[in-house]
Amino acid sequence: MARVARKGADVVVTKSVGLEPRKGYPGPNITVSHSGLLNAVGLTNPGIDSFLDELRILKRHNIPFVISVFGRTEKEISQVARIAVEAEPSALELNLSCPHAEISQIAHSTKLTGDFVSAVKDTVSIPVFAKLTPNASDIVAVGLAAEEAGADAIVAINTVQGMKIDITQKAPVLANKVGGLSGPPIFPVAVRCIYDLYHAVSIPIIGVGGVSTWEDAVEMHLAGASAIQIGTATLRGLDVFADIQEGVEEYLVREGFSKTSEIVGLAGGN
């Protein structure tokens, strides 16, 4: 994480952490299809207690970070959140939507989403982000429920459910069979979700999903994203952060804007 920050990321978001150490699924955990990455890691993490020690290192380096937390129940996610704030993160991101684990269903439901967000908001006093799934039938309704429950921002989108079958061995490649698709193929899906959410909610949206170039970042800002997360594109190396920042800066100057916030949501004509 420190390495990512040194390479130009303004904030780093951790992998999702839960209450207990968790192995995740056996391999294969990743594969590729149609220029997208499919993964089913299974929320592997050392548990929040062990994770705190690692995060203190980040704190010492003065690197702003967000902790992604998950839990099977409102009580469990609140417990994780209560411990996580000890590391003094800038915010907590609630993973309500890992598409291939037992928590996958939370962000499909407006009620569950609201309940989980409320539970964490009642527990901590730092900003809380709700990460939503494009696999929900109505992501805008879920976004509104998160906002109503007190979420400080929405993170959209999590990976898109998908799978890959090996035609030689005639079997699904991922050990979990179903995984989450990320990378360039989900970019237009993310843009659509962010565009629709932007016109419905008044809290900021953090855009994520397939961004790999500065053009993608600009497009996502225009759809309504105030900030952007990058994951899969780091496969090509960590220069992606600096490259995108530079490209966006140049675009802003060229187009006569002075800061990124001026283009957020501009494509909607607001």
Partner: protein, 273 residues
């Protein structure tokens, strides 16, 4: 952005033949799955055993048409790999990681146990370019020595030394002790090592004492093999074994706090070596 190459062009191949190397190690041969890439000694592949797991495996042999990996039984996945027969399929992705550098004239190669596997492949090109190779093969006991075909290799520029902890074959000594005495008597210009991490940590101390560059191949728990999951990242700078290694120089190793001290388990929790 086409991610296929970064993820190692996943494909399925058939095992063509199997050689039993010693009590616990089998070498599985298969045709080279990727026509358009060269595979360097020290690089590794991810091997998918259907219904079981996907694990990183070093390359122990490579020629124009076939390559091989040596499998030591250490858990469920390696047990399943050893149960495969010629004609059976495995999925492969790769090759991943960096390789050993080859620019040396008098290298000392030290392989402990299954750590011999990548050094076997490294020996081929080193001999081919005319290096004088001294190969130290070490194991706990004779039945665990991974000797491949080295015993039959009669050549002016190849010397074989054997060490076992219990003295059942070769010198009764630790690899580091035999390495120390070889370093005293010879003028090596590079040390290559692969084996238990404590052995490699001892060799790093020796390499620094003698002022000889060292390259060592490390092992960490891995999931993706290609630098996205972070499972194999090492303290304190986040060097990843899968993309920054698995081969590291003496200079890098001195700056990896956890080298020779601890590793991480499948959940990411620290475990002492």
């Amino acid at each position: 952005m086409d991610l296929k190459q970064e993820v190692g062009n996943p494909t399925s191949i058939r095992i063509t033949r199997i050689v039993k190397e010693n009590r616990s190690c089998h070498t599985l041969y298969f045709d080279i799955p990727w026509s358009d890439c060269s595979i360097q000694p020290g690089q590794f592949i991810m091997v998918w055993i259907r219904g079981v797991d996907e694990i990183p495996m070093g390359i122990c042999y490579h020629d124009d048409k076939e390559m091989a990996m040596t499998v030591k039984r250490v858990g469920k996945a390696t047990e399943a790999l050893q149960a495969l027969q010629p004609g059976d399929y495995v999925g492969v992705r790769g090759p991943f990681g960096n390789g050993f550098t080859l620019n040396c004239k008098n290298p000392l190669l030290i392989g402990g146990g299954i750590g011999m596997a990548p050094l076997r492949y490294l020996t081929q090109p080193l001999l081919h370019v005319g290096s004088n190779v001294t190969l130290l093969v070490a194991a706990k006991t004779e039945s665990e020595l991974l000797l491949y075909d080295f015993e039959n290799r009669a050549s002016n520029n190849f010397k074989l030394k054997i060490a076992t902890d219990d003295g059942s074959r070769g010198f009764e000594t630790l690899a580091t002790e035999l390495a120390d005495s070889l370093l005293k008597k010879n003028d090596f210009d590079r040390i290559y090592a692969c084996g238990p991490e404590l052995m490699m940590a001892g060799l790093l101390t020796l390499a620094l004492d003698y002022g000889i560059p060292l390259e060592a191949s490390l092992e960490r728990y891995m999931k993706c093999g290609c630098g996205i999951c972070g499972t194999c990242a090492m303290d304190p700078r986040g060097l990843m074994v899968c993309v920054d290694g698995p081969v590291f120089s003496d200079e890098q190793l001195q700056n990896i706090d956890e080298f020779g001290s601890y590793t991480r388990d499948s959940t990411g929790q620290r475990r002492p070596l």
